[in-house]
Amino acid sequence: MNDNLVPGYDDVWLVVPLYNEAAVIAEVVRTARLTFPHVVCVDDGSSDDSAREAESAGAKVVRHPVNLGQGAALQTGFEYALSDPGMRCVVTFDADGQHQVDDVVVMVERLRRGDVQVVFGSRFLDERTKPSPLKRLVLRLAVAYTNATTKTRLTDAHNGLRVIDRRVVQQIHLTQDRMAHASELVAQIGSMQIDGHPVAYAEEPVHILYTDYSKAKGQSLWNSINILAELILR
């Protein structure tokens, strides 16, 4: 296929957890692959045509035999990307089309400057993203909790858009299979050492598109209580 269209990003892997997104995934993958040739969709036991749609759009598909959860899918995607010796960094990217490829380009370029090993996307560094007031409150509380319990200082810990250097990916071991993985990821990165130094990270503003589709699919705010419970009862 067009794997060599954009040689500039041949060392980047987009990791996309995929669960019942057949309606949009092909378009999401196709758009992303115009810039980033390597996309792996981890199909988390979808009951619809998601996996086939993703494959037809040119993504590599890894299929969980049963539904395990988004955190488990991310970890699977990381390990798949690590099996490519040419991979230099991974991008965690949502399947529902709320992430912008332009934002990823900026974040990858930020990583390539070489002074940081992780770039987190943040909804709260500019005014483009417009979450509902309640969602904003919950996200703020979540990041306050994450900052209080880890060594990191972030403005938006639960953003699904991240760019992570290979050496950091090698040390990530997500055990929170379901939704608490975002906090776990931040915690692991916060306490990680590379060549005897703590991992350096940066935040870049990103725009999350809350379309009707993603709003309908997005997680309920009730889930934040479940996340908290899963984090405390480790």
């Binding site: 794997d3 060599n4 892997w13 390597h38 792996v40 981890v42 590599k60 598909v61 890894v62 299929r63 969980h64 035999p65 049963v66 395990l68 488990a72 970890q75 699977t76 390990e79 798949y80 990307a81 690590l82 099996s83 490519d84 010796p85 040419g86 991979m87 055990t175 299979d177 405390i232 009862l233 480790r234």
Partner: protein
């Protein structure tokens, strides 16, 4: 507010259970649990032979009847059981996830299609690829 001895004991045990859940793990926890179980069995025999021991304990901690103490103990035992089961379940789930992930990765296509990259890189040679994959697998273990 006047705390009865029983209230202090109950709160203490609840906190201990919660604390154990969050912090400790491993060999020592298991040993302590087994010792506790032996002690519990011994006490059970004792209290069958001398049922009045429950009443004595009740009076000691400020509860009216021995049966109430038994009830409180049961509640604590149930709470402890619930939390222990939750942790075991989590552990089991983690193993299950690793197993499923292994299967998923083994069945997946390789990250790069080996197809004709015209002459630019003449055969990255299949030979080094096999040890590389083995090494990755060993890393995981």
């Amino acid at each position: 507010m006047n705390l009865l001895l029983i209230q202090i004991v109950l709160i203490g045990v609840v906190l201990a259970i919660a604390g154990r859940l969050v912090f400790s793990r491993g060999v020592r926890t298991q040993a302590v649990r087994r010792l506790g179980l032996v002690g519990f069995a011994a006490f059970a025999v004792w209290s069958i032979l001398f049922p009045s021991v429950w009443n004595s304990i009740a009076h000691l901690v400020g509860v009216g009847r021995g049966t109430d103490v038994v009830l409180y103990a049961l509640v604590l035992a149930f709470l402890s059981f619930t939390l222990t089961s939750y942790m075991r379940f989590r552990e089991l789930e983690n193993r299950y996830t690793r197993l499923a992930r292994r299967i998923a990765l083994d069945e997946a296509a390789p990250p790069r299609d080996p197809v004709a990259e015209p002459a630019s890189a003449p055969a990255p040679a299949p030979a080094p690829e096999v040890p590389a994959q083995e090494a990755a697998t060993n890393d995981d273990a």
